[in-house]
């Protein structure tokens, strides 16, 4: 009786196990639930005069993977010129590409761009704001001064402390938060 009961139990267990026996193919494009990727960043600088725009471009299609990202800057900036800057974020891993800038715009209060250049004459000011009147930075004005070569680092922070000292003026030092995007470009002003 004892062995019979045990055998029944064993059979029941094996039955239960065999239901879960296939590890199953994962869905490669389960995008609703995977962390939203930003693959592509473009910062388009359109001068107030008729000269051609300067485009700063960064693309990393494999996210955290080991492939080197693609990065480019078209041409150089002119001295003593004001440019209208438009930042754009895409997720090109999706087809069609997903416009992440829209999402950032919708959550403007939780986001802010920061622009830091090694060239002291390059100055970026915010040209947009969130609902509270605090800067966002999808739209900016970039002013150049004397000639020089250096870098510009563009950072998008998620949940920064916008009210902390200097943050509204574009200083990242006290902003805290976490980094959604941070890219550095070499720029030439001539």
């Amino acid at each position: 009786m004892f062995t019979k009961k045990l055998l029944n139990l064993l059979a029941a267990t094996i039955l239960v196990i065999s239901f879960g026996c296939d590890p199953g193919d994962p869905e490669p494009h389960d995008h609703d639930h995977e962390e939203e990727l930003i693959t592509t960043f473009t910062y388009t600088l359109t001068p107030t005069d008729d000269s051609p725009p300067v485009i700063l471009y960064f693309q990393d299609l494999d996210g955290d993977g080991g492939e080197e990202p693609k990065q480019s800057v078209t041409g150089s900036l002119k001295t003593n010129t004001t440019y209208a800057g438009i930042a754009s974020l895409l997720n090109e891993d999706e087809n069609p590409a997903h416009n992440v800038s829209e999402e950032v715009k919708e959550e403007a209060e939780e986001h802010q761009f920061f622009f830091n250049s090694s060239l002291s004459d390059v100055e970026v000011t915010y040209n947009d704001a969130d609902e509270n009147g605090n800067p966002l930075g999808l739209e900016t004005l970039l002013k150049t001064g004397v000639a020089g070569a250096g870098t510009i680092t563009i950072t998008l922070l998620h949940e920064p402390e916008k009210t902390a000292s200097g943050v509204k003026e574009g200083s990242i030092d006290n902003a805290g938060g976490s980094t959604d995007l941070q890219v550095t470009f070499n720029i030439v002003v001539e």
Partner: protein, 769 residues
């Protein structure tokens, strides 16, 4: 194990002569030290039914007369001993012999020596008893285990702690909850074992390479948690414990009920815990709250005299908030956090927000033991475990409620064990297991691929004793088959399928020699191979708490290890105990991970970690001394030293626990203290001092910050018992980090971001009826 007391009571029933006068019965007894058999004076015996109490005299004898026939519940308490509860069904004059664990107690109530343990082994082991478990009911399992020398914890803030035994953790440690190998995502450095320590009566750590009778890694130590057998007594009994902790304004409640009913013996226990943000000496740790809800059911039945069946079911459910300032996405965030004295946000919050972990672990176990004779027995066990782990991060687009990691694991174990005792000192145990693990990511990114693993194993253990010598020999073979389905790292992501087949061999030899009456030595050598785990082969992504991208390595091979331990124990006139454990472990193809530079990504880039292999060695010693200055005053001293070397590169091993010295002094009042009409018993005061050295042995070019400075922590504890009618109350007051010292811990993943906890005052009240 048959309850000793009940056994003795039954013996005496047969011998006693019935003098069936209704209320004219006598109960007498003698109380002895379980360690050396000497009689114990001043043991208090209290009868719940009539609130009468007596003490033992100089020869350890107590006598109570004019008792009525019927059930009696005795509370037996003594200085330095765990209070015992004894049930007597009094029908005639009765004599009892009671044993109390006495001389074998370490000062901090962790029993080190003694044969009355969960697992009989010649391996070096230490045990945490029920008193220590319940007096520290504010701690999780990993933190509780650090009370044992040679055991430390890999922490991730205040909420998560993984045990490290002699420098090894995660995949190399086997945790046995009620003899079931704990399944789940044990590989994760910020994944705590999903076990409520309050469900156990006894927690044992085996430091050598033991547990050949169980599936899992044989390279590192073993943690065994075991609930006690339900005491053989017919009445409903229960206990409750409540605590309040000042740091985090936490509350916890644990309740337990049990009865050895004539139809079935049962025990039901549950735990609820909740706390808010914790605090360092100087600031709050934003988002470090936690909550927990657990339930366990234990059933036991003797179907026939030879057939014993038991069931165990438990559910463990927790939500743990992860320190908000530790949410560092990229290299610059991490650098900023390291440079900051105080995190950028130090607000006190009462909710659990992302980043957070939500973990559920459910276990069922059915065990059937059949005794053919009292020399041989067969045990068959079926267990099932379901583990759910969800990790939530701060996400854009209002998606923070969708987990970034969402793992579901079923683990099934079928096991048969046969034990044959050929003679009193020769026993053979043998058995086989099939362990099936089905692991899936549920609609979330694959941090590790989906897999279905079959682990089948066979083992045999031989125990042989001669006069003063005991020998132990064990062999085990395991076959591990992993069916893996994952996604490629390169985008667009493609499905890949792989099948891995590994063979693991392990063996151990133990020898214990009683050299002098008060001096013994034990030597153990163990060999084991361990196949690379799924995470070591395939993990890819950013793991919260590590602040970087971590990648598995596809071509890892099995690691092999030899560990030797030599334990020496001596005792001087029951006043001084000395114990030293020396160990040396050598590895071929030791698997580890370390920072391998910087990877540029669109969010500024991260440190990049890779799993690697090397030849390595870990060696060290655990030393402990217990001094009994008087019956009331005891002192305890422990020292742990450990060094790990990467032999191929001639560098120190990364993430090894720093050395540690601890000293405790305890005073227990010999006689009860009278407060009004009540008597406070077992009044104990203790203070301990823990000094942790700075880890100077680390690979300097590889780790990105040096380990934190040395620190000293002082803790205080007071405890007392109070018997009121049928209920025994237990009060505790603990102050951890008494001097509110600021420090950081090398083995805390959050050491880059914030200090450790400041002072914590914990008040506890327990009752037992």
């Amino acid at each position: 194990m048959l309850n000793k007391f009940v056994f003795i009571i039954l013996c005496f029933f047969n011998l006693c002569v019935a003098l069936a006068q209704n209320c004219d019965l006598k109960l007498a007894g003698i109380v002895k030290d379980a360690g050396n058999g000497e009689t114990l004076e001043f043991v208090n015996i209290y009868i719940k039914e009539n609130s009468r109490g007596v003490s033992t005299d100089g020869s350890g004898i107590f006598k109570i007369s004019n008792l009525c026939a019927g059930h009696l519940h005795l509370v037996v308490s003594h200085i330095g001993c765990t209070t015992q509860f004894v049930h007597v069904d009094l029908a005639s004059d009765t004599a009892l012999v009671l044993y109390m664990d006495h001389s074998k107690h370490k000062i901090n109530d962790i029993i080190v020596k003694g044969e009355r343990t969960v697992e009989k082994t010649l391996q070096s082991f230490e045990t945490i008893n029920i008193k220590t478990i319940t007096d520290n009911n504010d701690l999780n399992l990993g933190s509780l285990l650090t009370k044992i020398s040679g055991v430390s914890a890999l922490k991730s803030g205040g909420g998560n702690a993984k045990p490290i035994i002699h420098g090894l953790f995660a995949n190399r440690i086997t945790i046995l909850n009620n003899e079931v190998p704990q399944a789940g995502q044990q590989w994760g450095f910020d994944h705590s074992p999903e076990i409520d320590p309050l469900s156990a009566n006894n927690i044992q750590v085996i430091k050598g390479t033991a547990a050949l009778a169980y599936p899992g890694s044989k390279l590192g130590g073993v943690v065994l948690l075991k609930p006690s057998k339900i005491p053989n007594e017919p009445h409903l009994h229960g206990e409750g414990k409540y605590f309040y902790e000042s740091n985090g304004l936490g509350n916890g409640l644990h309740l337990k009920m049990e009865q050895h009913h004539s139809k079935i013996a049962w025990r039901l226990s549950g735990t609820l815990k909740k706390r808010f943000d914790q605090k360092t000496p100087n600031y709050f740790l934003t988002n470090t709250g936690a909550q927990e809800a657990n339930l366990a059911l234990q059933l036991e039945k003797n179907i026939t005299e030879k057939w014993f069946v038991n069931f165990y079911g438990s559910t463990y459910n927790t939500d743990i908030a992860i320190l908000l300032p530790s949410h560092a996405n990229n290299f610059v965030d991490l650098q900023n956090s390291i440079d900051r004295e105080v995190p950028y946000i130090t607000e006190f919050t009462t909710t659990i927000n992302p980043p957070r972990q939500q973990v559920n672990h459910h276990l069922i176990k059915l065990n059937s033991k059949y005794f053919f004779t009292n020399k041989n027995q067969l045990a068959i066990t079926l267990t099932g475990q379901l583990n759910r782990r969800k990790e939530f991060d701060i996400r854009r687009g209002g998606d923070s409620h969708i987990p970034i990691i969402n793992l579901k694991q079923f683990a099934w174990l079928i096991e048969g064990k046969y034990k044959h005792q050929f003679s009193d000192d020769f026993t053979v145990k043998t058995g086989a297991q099939l362990n099936i693990i089905d692991n899936k990511s549920v609609r979330a990114a694959l941090i590790i691929p989906n897999y279905l693993a079959y682990e089948s194993g066979l083992f045999a253990l031989l125990n042989k004793g001669f006069n003063n010598t005991k020998l132990e020999l064990g062999l085990r073979y395991d076959n591990v088959l992993q069916n893996v389905v994952g996604l490629t790292i390169a985008r667009p992501k493609q499905v890949f399928k792989e099948q891995n087949n590994f063979n693991n061999f392990s063996g151990s030899f133990g020898w214990k020699q009683q050299i002098l009456e008060n001096f013994n030595a034990s030597f153990n050598i163990g060999y084991a191979t361990r196949n690379p785990a799924i995470n070591e082969l395939y993990i890819f992504g950013r793991v919260p708490g590590i602040s970087g991208i971590i990648e598995g390595t596809n071509n890892l091979v099995s690691e092999q290890s030899v560990k030797t331990t030599l334990g020496l124990k001596s005792n001087f006139a029951q006043l001084l105990n000395l114990e030293v454990l020396l160990y040396y472990q050598h590895f071929d193809n030791y698997i580890y991970y370390e920072p391998r530079g910087f990877r540029l990504t669109i969010d500024g880039g991260s440190f990049f970690y890779k799993h690697l292999q090397t030849d390595a060695q870990i060696y060290g010693l655990d030393f402990s001394a217990q001094l009994k200055i008087s019956e009331s005053l005891k002192a305890n001293f422990t020292y742990s030293y450990l060094k790990g070397d990467d032999l191929s590169r001639n560098l120190p091993l990364i993430y090894m626990p720093p050395n540690n010295i601890a000293a405790t002094i305890q005073y227990e009042f010999f006689q009860p203290i009278k407060i009004f009409s009540q008597q406070l018993e077992n009044v104990t005061l203790s203070i301990d001092d823990n000094y942790t050295f700075e880890q100077t042995n680390y690979p300097k070019e590889i780790d990105f910050t040096p380990p934190p400075a040395a620190y000293n922590l002082v803790n205080f504890k007071a405890a007392a018992d109070l018997q009121m009618n049928k209920t025994r109350w237990h009060f505790t007051l603990k102050v951890d980090n008494l001097f509110n010292t600021s420090y950081r811990n090398y083995l805390n993943l959050q050491r880059f971001f914030a200090d450790e906890l400041g002072r914590n005052v914990v008040l506890g009240v327990g009752f037992k009826f």
